[in-house]
Symmetry: C2
Subunit: 313 residues, 2 copies
């Protein structure tokens, strides 16, 4: 593995840079990418962010100050992408062209020769913050808003155990640039559309408990999504619901993405290993938050998950 100083040296020497994000882009991959992109542009370089899939509207402020530049890419890197499959629609075009991989997932399987992976970083954006310091980049208010977004979203607003004293320290320094962190957090965590509220009420009706309440499962179907007239991006953010319930060790959210194709989000409390659980289905992630995909009909998918949980719970 490289040092962050070496990463900084490489980026200093490069221009016309494309920054790849993971699919279903979240606050950390986006905040890392746009924060870094803006810093590179501010250094006089050409840079752009390559999205995989649609970015939710609530993230639009991350593009603030980022210029659309016309250039032929000469250096391609990824941020917060733990596996090639997570490149989504960009996989075929980019998977063999990535020259630099910056990530904070210990489970990273990208296999990029020049990689900087620090799983002690609560968010990938923490690494970008350190990197920009080494590069001597000025952390403008716009860059700070992007990095704060990454840190805040990946730590559940400093709630989760991946948070460190360093995380708080960086957050404080980013706040000193005058970012409207209250508005960022409201947009990320607090604001619910009326449609989302309606969805949550519907999802509560799907809640079931297993193994003496240690496992809780909720689901959404395409039919529910259609009935409420919700877009794909409005179906996110339900995964924390089942884990919140007292006594639950593992909370599973099953989401029908296409007919008989389900995205599974697993959240755990305490020692229960969500990553090991999801690896049984070809997925992965963090110990407390992982995901996988399973095809089939809803009943069968649910039964497979329940059966697989027995050994763990």
């Amino acid at each position: 593995m490289m040092t962050l100083n070496e990463v900084a040296e490489i980026l200093r020497s490069k221009d016309n840079i494309e920054i790849l994000t993971h699919h279903y882009p979240d606050g950390d991959t986006l905040g890392s990418a746009y924060g870094l992109c803006l810093a590179l542009q501010n250094m006089g370089k050409n840079a752009r962010v390559i999205l995989s899939g649609k970015m939710a509207e609530k993230f639009n402020y991350l593009k603030s100050g980022v210029k659309e530049q016309n250039f032929t890419p000469q250096f391609i890197m990824s941020v917060d992408v733990a596996a090639k499959s997570l490149l989504g629609e960009n996989r075929e075009k980019y998977e063999n062209k990535i020259e630099l991989c910056i990530d904070h997932h210990g489970s990273n399987t990208m296999g990029v020769e020049k990689s900087y992976i620090d799983n002690t970083a609560a968010a990938n954006a923490e690494i970008i913050y350190d990197l920009l310091h080494i590069m001597g980049a000025k952390i403008t208010k716009e860059i700070a808003a992007s990095l704060y977004t990454g840190i805040s979203t990946d730590t559940g607003c400093f709630m989760y155990t991946n948070t460190t004293a360093k995380t708080h320290n960086i957050a404080g320094q980013l706040m000193d640039t005058g970012i409207d962190f209250g508005e960022i957090n409201r947009a990320m965590f607090e604001t619910k559309t009326k449609e989302k509220l309606a969805l949550e009420r519907m999802v509560y009706d799907t809640l079931d408990y297993y193994y003496d309440g240690k496992l809780a499962i909720i689901y959404t179907t395409l039919a529910m999504q259609s009935k409420l007239n919700l877009g794909d991006d409005q179906m996110e953010g339900l995964a924390s619901i089942p884990r919140q319930i007292e006594g639950v060790k593992m909370g599973i959210t099953i989401r029908e993405k296409k007919n008989k194709e389900f995205k599974i989000s697993v959240r755990t409390n305490g020692d229960t290993d969500a990553c090991a659980f999801c690896q049984q289905f070809g997925g992965g992630g963090h110990k407390a938050a992982s995901g996988c995909s399973i095809n089939g009909d809803l009943i069968t998918v649910k039964q497979r998950l329940i059966a697989a949980a027995e050994g763990i719970l």
Copy 2:
């Protein structure tokens, strides 16, 4: 107003200290009180916390390490108590005996001669943290857990705009003592009983919008509480629900405490002043979070609130 050095000097010179909290005790009044109490005991003094009303079970860990001492009180102080009415059941006995008032509410009306009120502190526990430093008290893991609880709960886990870089800095230092902040935050913010989930579903059915969706109101009644078999302490924590809805400037939660006696919690977004609103009903608090009490039947109480909001929204 006194300096914190003067407060420290007073506390150094006193013994047999009682620390008063506000009624419906929350994480900040409790965390401040138990953190300070433990530090005073560790200095060889006698000290105890005087609760007003029942403390929710989830806070029991705050008492960890605090000794029950038998002594005649010689010095009475309050933490995080902004008005004598907030002493609740302790008002009659204590209101004229308080010799020191430490608080972070700018609206403080306690009128105690020796007061330290810092409304730039996100939580009262931040002041206690500074105070303990001045007093040279060792911040043990138990004290840190109490102070972290105060800070985390009063800032919505660092989400709200009262959070400062200093808040993050203190949180990081408290974390360095090895506290299980993940477990604290889970207990404070994430864990819901099955009964609470049922309550939320019922409360969603009471949700109404006014003034083009700028005002949202929910309510709970004694009948609902009885139907779900919930204790008073289980009726807390609903106030953030109406404010979360997109477009809502003011979210009001009406809770029937006794027959025809209602506790009103007001939460606002942006520039809307919850404190000014609640002062119309003899209440008060912070700009974004205030409360008051109104008696009457539910319909009338609700209509008075809607009418009072017209001028503000």
